[in-house]
Point group: C2
Chain length 230, copies 2
């Protein structure tokens, strides 16, 4: 019945005119002009959410790290590379609903070298510092939007996700287990559990396009409920 | 006249039946199941070389790191992720001509973590060890093919390239300056200097497809010359 419910929400364009921002893809943190640290996010889930949100009538801004995907139609796409760039773009586009789907690099090299580092030594180490936490920064902002985070984990997925929901003061968190290569980062399918302070629902394995519509319907419902109870 | 010369070499299928191996793209070195170190190589130059070599009649094996490109027709494509995987595949496909175009990661994390590393600290460091040097290993192999390397540098490009030609005992090196974003890693155009022990020639900025044909013609010529003088 979730699918039927989602269809009804899309028919009524449940997010008509709502400003909604989605971050997607990985970030890249420069080691030098040639090398970087990144992660296996393909951006597919975030792009699918952007398309579903636009279908539901939202004015969508998609803040995207480097991916090989075309921006969906009717979506304002802002391309960024690093976590710091993504934070700046996010603060410029907080919107009314903010979905932090990007796999932001947690750490970056202390300083990117100006020139390509020569491989002179048998071993070396890269000193890293924490990147800004984009979803926490957004969730604690004075103009705080309805804030949705993602938790991509390889173990104790629901435990970490619930902790993150509370610790970062989010309105919803979408948990997925990236240790299963059939779903998650580079796959076309995903299976997630959406958790919010008063409930949760598991969405079984489906295409990222189908899941995105179900998630946008859930987010719209919680967003509207929250507005009603505020 | 290089272009005319190249056209003639392609018409005569100057590499007919020759086994030619090309490595292309970046490699990815796992930090944990989610994160990796990589570089900005798009794979375009290597894929263009593979296509040009097939056009010249060679039996081409393309050993490719993760890129978003389709393998050219008539090319045997072997997909790899890490430098160690690329070395194994290279030793399994030495061929008669070996063109090391991939931007192999020089270093990899000492050990990839089994689980996603939690971001508990304000700073951290990643200990790295040198990866195997694929082109050197190939050039010093008992069944040494005619070996061509690439030198992608951001400063003193020709100096480093000539040093690398000699130090790694290569038959030819293709030098390009990746500090100019119009050419090199992610661009569709490139400009290179091909250097061999007894000469060099600069190929001005052109599409990677055009440059690939000129380079394959130069490589074929040096390969045939070397066979004649051995």
């Amino acid at each position: 019945q979730l699918a039927e419910h989602a269809a009804a929400l899309f028919q009524t364009r449940c997010l008509d005119g709502i400003k909604l921002t989605i971050t997607a893809g990985p970030t890249r943190e420069a080691i030098d002009p040639v090398r970087y640290i990144s992660n296996h996010s393909s951006g597919k889930m975030g792009y699918a959410l952007a398309e579903a949100a636009a279908d539901a009538g939202a004015q969508v801004t998609l803040i995207s790290g480097p991916c090989n995907l075309s921006a969906p139609e009717r979506v304002n796409c802002v391309n960024v590379v690093s976590a710091e760039d993504m934070l700046t773009a996010s603060l410029n586009h907080l919107g009314e609903i903010f979905i932090a789907c990007a796999a932001v690099a947690d750490y970056r090299p202390v300083a990117a070298a100006d020139q390509k580092i020569k491989k002179s030594q048998a071993s070396m180490s890269i000193e890293l510092v924490r990147n800004p936490d984009i979803v926490s920064t957004v969730a604690s902002h004075a103009q705080r939007p309805f804030t949705v985070g993602f938790a991509a984990e390889t173990q104790d997925v629901l435990h970490y996700a619930k902790d993150k929901l509370q610790r970062k003061n989010l309105d919803m968190i979408i948990a997925n287990d990236v240790s299963n290569s059939e779903i998650g980062f580079n796959a076309d399918q995903n299976a997630v559990t959406a958790i919010w302070p008063k409930g949760e629902t598991s969405l079984p394995q489906a295409s990222k396009t189908q899941l995105a519509r179900q998630l946008i319907a859930l987010i719209a419902e919680q967003y509207i409920n929250k507005g009603a109870s505020d």
